[in-house]
Symmetry: C3
Subunit: 331 residues, 3 copies
Amino acid sequence: MNFYHLSELPEPEVQRLVVRAAALGHGKPAANLGTSALGLFFLAPSLRTSASFQRAAAQLQMQLIQLNGGSVWGLETRDGITMDGEAAEHVKEAAAVLGTYVDVLAVRAFPTRKSLQEDLGDPVMKAFMQHCSVPVINMESTRWHPCQALADRMTLDQIGVPQRGKMVLTWAWHPKPLPHAVPNSTLTMAAQRGMDVVLLHPPGFHLHPDVIQEAEFLAHTNGGNLTVTHDRQTALQNADVVYAKSWGSLDHWTDAAADSQLRQPFRDWCVTPDWLHPKTKFMHCLPVRRNVVVSDAVLDGPASVVVQQAANRLPAQTAILESLLSPVLQK
Amino acid sequence: MNFYHLSELPEPEVQRLVVRAAALGHGKPAANLGTSALGLFFLAPSLRTSASFQRAAAQLQMQLIQLNGGSVWGLETRDGITMDGEAAEHVKEAAAVLGTYVDVLAVRAFPTRKSLQEDLGDPVMKAFMQHCSVPVINMESTRWHPCQALADRMTLDQIGVPQRGKMVLTWAWHPKPLPHAVPNSTLTMAAQRGMDVVLLHPPGFHLHPDVIQEAEFLAHTNGGNLTVTHDRQTALQNADVVYAKSWGSLDHWTDAAADSQLRQPFRDWCVTPDWLHPKTKFMHCLPVRRNVVVSDAVLDGPASVVVQQAANRLPAQTAILESLLSPVLQK
Amino acid sequence: MNFYHLSELPEPEVQRLVVRAAALGHGKPAANLGTSALGLFFLAPSLRTSASFQRAAAQLQMQLIQLNGGSVWGLETRDGITMDGEAAEHVKEAAAVLGTYVDVLAVRAFPTRKSLQEDLGDPVMKAFMQHCSVPVINMESTRWHPCQALADRMTLDQIGVPQRGKMVLTWAWHPKPLPHAVPNSTLTMAAQRGMDVVLLHPPGFHLHPDVIQEAEFLAHTNGGNLTVTHDRQTALQNADVVYAKSWGSLDHWTDAAADSQLRQPFRDWCVTPDWLHPKTKFMHCLPVRRNVVVSDAVLDGPASVVVQQAANRLPAQTAILESLLSPVLQK
């Protein structure tokens, strides 16, 4: 059993994780998983995820094994390839071997942007899940960031957003074309929660149709609603939460210059106080570029809950580790 | 309460830390801080500091969270800036978030040399202290290296240098313009100890007037004395300790070529045996360039206590962690 | 006492390590070395070695101190040199200082290929052993990879290869000239085990005469045999094990282009199923380049034991740590 995508879990299971995470956040002691080992394998940068998983392991008294991309061999993920290029190791061996050293392996791997088709297949994470004999946790892949989604769902409860409350997930300007994992996971998380979800972005910056379709299904199943729009003013009306995030255009996935030109007119997609009603909360997964994605006034004001979101990563991930290694605790 | 600059502490508090560090060094068991977590955040290279803090945490049974600059997002420290450059994260968020994961956060950040004014403000360390909700330990900032200073003070006691003994802090040649944190902290530490302190350097390589003024005040308060001179021969007479260190010129802070030219005539500022009396001990914070800053003959001879200084980092930092997290122990 | 080269140990001692490692592999509890600290210092990339040593330390309840080349100062190893180049720290200081922080220090350092003579002297590992006051473990040096050799010897027993069985250590094509540590250690390990060892490589890719001589002596002493040949067909007859590994030419150690030209005709030195008899097992130390060093068909088929070799690194290294820190356990 892996933890790959939050919305793969049935809703009662997600709720159980949120309840357990909240209890841990309130000081309930974590399980003692002292004979088990957690492997953290970062093929991309991290601050919150790395720090919070290290602390989660410590609180669970787990043994910790850490590797990062800068100090291991380059990894190949394609099947059947003749490895005479840069990559010195195939993920088949890396995953199989690490599975003999640890009891659960958490992996982060970002898109390479060499091919949209390839990135949509989530090759590194899929390969680790296929070739590793122990549970794999997705610490952000090309497609999903389920740990963030769980922490965010916990945060929505904490700040009193009603189950059917309105969340606007809005695109924001950014100098670089960023991955889709966070918007994908935020959209499906909010839809599964049964919220009134509005996806707001300028033309050309849609999310993948498969993700939209999944979010629509989740919303429908759980009593919520999904709207996709370019109309900022209507979208923001009566929002309980504005969740900002930048992402790249799927139409120019391998062409950063074309993406840059496409987004050039949308530099004003920076969340400023006038985007928010007095009751609206502001969310972002961090790291965030100040006065680019969101203004100082919003981030430093009472609307922002971004630090609370990040703080919730710790109990959320502790609950995930417990559920994989000591599942009876969650029942 | 932070541990930013050793000489900010009242003298009795420094003495208490030295006594506790010495006891720990003699095998006294460290406190059990097993429910607390230490975060180590290195934005610059480290060997001694990283290794000794890792061991200190282990001896204190602390949980350990480690991050380094190479595997996190680029950090912005300026207020009010539009973050459309390289930095993807503001220290405001990084500090606030890390403060939710750990109980004490130790940070290393070297000067960027883009602006002397900016570096004098110690922007990264100050920002962490301002925005982090838990105590911050300075593992070497633009201005100070208090962990080194505490270990060095402990070493002075161990090697029997009298309180009013003579320490010569001498500039040495080096191919690069190095930061001022160590000379600043060494000078103020020795002055606060009440020593006869001589600061020796060639023209153009003065320390900052604020540091000199603070050292003069500390010397005056504690019965010591401070002399600044370019005259090597007089300076070295009857020295109990010669502490060598290279540093860059404040007059050419952002211009490495001009600094290089200014130091070019001073290549003979390399400590050789003739600099030392039979009783003189040689100190350096390490890493040290052999036969550039100091000759093999000195470093491999009986005068050198550089390894002892480095070894003292472990009990010194263990005492610092205890004092921040379990202050009653120190009283 | 260091762990530098497996075949330095008398055969009964090697057998004792293998027996202990096998017991640990079968779930026998490891010793509690909870007051001791292990330092891991990687000056070159690692996946298996780093992960398995981290886990070994955890299972032994050891304190763990980790450093890697990317986040420390550049190291100088030459004696008497004027350090005005890139290296900021001499290994003399680094080794002496780390010896004050840990109880056993494990080091990885690959050849620099600036000079064959220098690399043959194994300068970094030798310097650490000379200047460090605690036992040093070789995690792969210019000359030897003893942890791999011990795990491999354990694997040979597990897969039922008779003591006098036939092992072919074969060169394989690879785009880069790789170090000799693994072939050197594999050859001497198999010879010391008393096997019928065949070293197979194309002209120009011999191992160093000193290694051949040592392997011949070990084979002779322990009832085995060593043959060196370019004749692939004869070599592979009746092999119990084919151990593949690529390495660079000693004749062009500092000239990658000349090495590349020399190996150019040997691109067909890739182990394919027709190299193996039905009973032949395939071994490799990993990482391995698929369809370059060995074909998918071999690696994914029943002959391959490469993951088992890697898995054995954990109990092998646990036994090594026990033998250095708690030697009575091994007796």
